[in-house]
């Protein structure tokens, strides 16, 4: 697609710098945009990520992984190219990868969002010649409501459940989304409980200076305790009667961009669907792409074919970059990314 980077069997590859970006097979040098499981995989010899994301990546990859870091904006010369990482606003430590060679600039966005999020550094718009963008929600039906409104809805829902004597169980992706929600909850309403998968990542956030209200791991709660005042945050995989035994009177909700579509809401048969995503909505994608002033756009993830076609209609040179996530689209109601 370009002389600076190519798509290969193992993922996006920069020949000159001899490194891969978010490879899906083990490689020598991996540059990681962020620590979600579909981007950060085990087995590579060395990893490079943004400083802000090191702890999370460590938690994901284990003690033995060799992890190097760069501050946002710090330049690193790798053979003939200059590499730097820039905030993507997706989750703590998420980065866009900028590669420059002879004045030619390529940016790989990773996942990103334009909506406000106090748990990570906001997206930095970059100018470049080639922009490789995600398009998880690359259809014009995806518009996110104001984040503040969503949080006041969540808090109001929690209060109402309390009045009705029901525990509020909110399902959210364990890394990033869960912490963003915890940060937006009104801790004066009641105790915030967490599933283990979520509690695992909370220290990474707190150590990075992110202000999260106190949380308590569900496993530490006494069996007979009255939990109807609590809000429980759990990953979607915990949505089974066995895990929820402790909360016989409960209201369930799911927080995800997919909740924008009624069919997804109903299929999960949750009481509420809160539309909140760590990806950009349609307008966010379009604005970010436009701000790069790039002529060539590579589109990956989600509705890539539709997004690329639309961009071509607007005069861009746009093409779909096939990713390893071919299954993803068949699984729109799912939780692969949210």
């Amino acid at each position: 697609m370009d002389d600076i980077i190519q798509m290969t069997q193992k993922g996006l590859y920069c020949t000159e710098g001899d490194f891969y970006i978010d490879p899906w097979q083990p490689v020598k040098k991996a540059v990681i945009t962020h620590a979600h499981a579909d981007h950060a995989r085990w087995g590579s010899q060395s990893y490079l990520c943004a400083c802000e994301g090191k702890n999370i990546l460590r938690a994901r990859l284990g003690n033995h992984a060799a992890i190097e870091t760069l501050n946002y904006g710090e330049l690193k010369r790798v053979n003939g190219v200059v590499l730097s990482l820039h905030p993507a606003g997706h989750i703590l430590g998420s980065a866009q990868v900028r590669i420059e060679r002879f004045g030619q600039v390529v940016v790989v966005s990773g996942d990103y969002k334009t909506a406000p999020d106090p748990t990570c550094t906001p997206l930095e718009p970059l100018r470049c010649h080639v922009f490789i963008t995600e398009s998880t929600f690359g259809l014009p039906i995806f518009h996110w409501p104001d984040t503040e409104d969503v949080f006041s809805d969540i808090n109001a829902w929690w209060r109402r459940n309390q009045e009705e004597g029901r525990t509020s169980i909110l399902f959210a992706y364990a890394l990033g989304k869960a912490q963003r929600i915890i940060a937006g909850l009104d801790a004066n309403i009641g105790p915030i409980l967490t599933h283990g998968a979520i509690e695992n990542f909370n220290p990474c956030y707190r150590n990075a200076g992110v202000n999260l209200p106190p949380t308590l791991h569900v496993g530490k709660v006494e069996d007979k305790q009255d939990l109807t005042k609590a809000l429980v945050i759990a990953p979607p995989s915990a949505d089974n009667p066995n895990w929820m035994r402790k909360f016989p009177n409960r209201a369930r909700a799911f927080a995800s961009g997919w909740m924008r579509i009624r069919g997804n809401r109903r299929r999960r048969s949750v009481d509420r669907g809160f539309v909140i995503s760590d990806h950009s909505d349609w307008d966010g994608l379009v604005q970010t792409i436009s701000a790069t002033a790039a002529e060539k756009i590579g589109v990956t993830h989600g509705y890539a074919a539709e997004m690329a076609r639309w961009l071509r209609g607007k005069g861009y040179q746009a093409e779909v970059i096939s990713s390893d996530l071919r299954e993803e689209k068949a699984n729109t109601g799912g939780a692969a990314t949210s």
């Binding site: 039906i141 069919g263 109903r266 299929r267 539709e306 109601g333």
Partner: protein
């Protein structure tokens, strides 16, 4: 509009019956009668028919959203629901409106019917610009004729009953028949004076559930009256004040569609209401249901059709006699009164549905095998001492149907579903083998588990051969056992046969398309009626 949209959201969000009733009661407490009456009308399923062409709505919404046609289609494909796709695509509203719901319906929605396209466009776009997502969705559902929400008429009746402290049967009765959605009528529905005057008004039908399991569990056979289960249209024939009214179960006044029954009913005494089945009748047995379908679609019928497809009413029950509501006396006594009433009638187009005599349940099991050759679907079981209840109830009445017919068929087309499964491919067309090719014979969209549906959905996405609008032709690989209640020859179908109530019995993952049944095997199931 906002209050109604909020109610819709609350009803849509919960599966709990109690919460739904709470939401409705709360709504009735807060809105004025002129709004409430329209809501009641829509909630019980009397939605307006489509007033604006779908194509046009898509065009206007695309224009406002600045989205090309193909991208609208792609979005529609993902959302699976037109009203919702439009809602999600439209730009943010430029204003809001406090116009009450009845004004929206009476001054904006209803006049759309038959209006010029320019006018329609102006009204619809103006409405969109003043509504939030929730209101737009409900509005779009109403103007596309697709308004549906997860409450039954019975649930609405329960809510109204709780709100007004009037018993549910009275409210249910008042909601039947034809009425104008006015504040006055709303007051009448909730009126404490239960001496209703309207002479046309039918009673709510008593419906029953299928019997699953062993009939022996019902106790002594002598406690039950057994009748054949006829496959026609359930109806009520009313004779009051010298006038005849015929109602179908769909609560449609169908008097003029069945002039021969109207004529027969004239000789009934005033103050009579009979519950029965309208059936197309040959010499001594019913004609296939598809014959009746030729009459259902028409408001009035011509001479030829009257000759080709004569109908009779097989009377089941007597609900009103000598102007008195007798639903609470025992079935046995109502039935005796019915038989006494019909005996002197010279016109046999209204006749009693004969009782089937069985000494034991086992004897009945044997008799039931004659169902198909008699053109019936099995038995109706009614407890002799049962009263005539309201709505679908378990316990005193059961339908005991014969096992369905089945064939193994191949899925060849798929379409996305609606409601809870919107966005997933859930509606399928099935074919049987005919030489080297496949011939479609049935559409079905129920019978699979959620997990199976997801699996089939994935298969459809990966094995699409061709697209025809929302329909995908898929590679013919998946085999399903299709069950149906009846089968007959049909000139209108490519396969030459028509099946009744086809549904998916199970997914035959053990079979390949080559092992599916043939059209010959299917045709062999057609009963040989003279």
């Amino acid at each position: 509009m906002k209050a109604f949209a909020d109610l819709y959201r609350q009803l849509d969000e919960t599966t709990s019956t109690n919460r739904k009733i709470d939401a409705m009661v709360n709504y009735f407490q807060t809105v004025p009668p002129e709004d409430a009456i329209w809501s009641v009308r829509f909630l019980i399923g009397r939605k307006p028919r489509q007033v604006v062409p779908t194509r046009k709505l898509m065009e206007w919404a695309s224009e406002l959203a600045g989205v090309p046609d193909w991208l609208f289609e792609a979005s529609y494909d993902v959302v699976g629901d037109l009203a919702e796709t439009i809602t999600l695509l439209l730009p943010k509203p430029t204003g809001s409106s406090t116009r009450p719901f009845h004004r929206w319906v009476e001054k904006h929605l209803l006049p759309l019917r038959g209006a010029d396209l320019d006018v329609q466009k102006k009204v619809v776009c103006a409405a969109w610009s003043q509504m939030d997502d929730g209101q737009r969705f409900v509005w779009n559902k109403l103007i596309t004729g697709g308004f549906r929400v997860g409450v039954s008429q019975r649930l609405v009746v329960r809510a109204l009953s709780r709100y007004s402290a009037i018993d549910a049967a009275t409210i249910s009765h008042r909601l039947m028949g034809e009425w104008a959605p006015t504040a006055d009528y709303y007051e009448q529905i909730l009126s404490q004076d239960t001496q209703d005057a309207d002479i046309s008004r039918p009673y709510p039908f008593y419906l029953c559930y299928p019997l699953v399991g062993d009939p022996e569990s019902l106790g002594p056979v002598d406690d039950w009256q057994i009748e054949w289960k006829w496959d026609g249209i359930r109806g009520q024939v009313i004779k009051r004040d010298g006038q005849v009214f015929i109602w179908s179960r769909g609560e449609e006044l169908v008097t003029d569609k069945y002039p021969e029954l109207k004529q027969a009913a004239v000789s009934l005494p005033d103050g009579t209401v009979i519950d029965g089945e309208i059936l197309p009748w040959g010499k001594d047995r019913p004609l296939p249901f598809s014959e009746l379908q030729r009459r259902i679609g028409r408001k009035t019928v011509g001479k030829k059709l009257l000759l080709d497809v004569p109908v009779v009413l097989l009377a089941y029950d007597l609900l009103e006699a000598e102007g008195r509501d007798i639903r609470s006396i025992s079935f046995e006594r109502r039935r005796a009164a019915l038989s006494e009433l019909l005996a002197p009638l010279s016109d046999n187009r209204i006749r009693i549905s004969p009782a089937v005599l069985g000494k034991t349940w086992q004897h009945l099991v044997t008799l039931q095998r004659e169902s198909r050759s008699r053109g019936v679907e099995g038995f109706m079981l009614k407890r002799c001492d049962s009263m005539y209840e309201v709505g679908r109830r378990r316990g005193n009445w059961w339908k005991w149907k014969i096992d369905p017919l089945t064939v193994d068929a191949v899925m060849i087309y798929a379409q996305r579903g609606h409601g809870r499964r919107a966005g997933l491919y859930t509606d399928y067309t099935f074919a049987v083998r005919q030489g080297d090719s496949l011939v479609p014979f049935a559409k079905a969209y129920s019978g699979l588990s959620d997990a199976e549906i997801r699996q089939v959905d994935r298969f459809v996405q990966r094995n699409t051969l061709e697209r025809f609008g929302p329909v995908r032709a898929v590679s013919p690989q998946l085999v399903f056992e299709i069950a149906f209640d009846g089968i007959q020859k049909s000139k209108r179908h490519k396969s030459g046969i028509a099946v009744r109530f086809p549904r998916i019995a199970r997914w035959r993952q053990d079979k390949t398309a080559e092992e599916a049944d043939t059209i010959e095997a299917l045709k062999a199931l057609v009963p040989n009626l003279q």
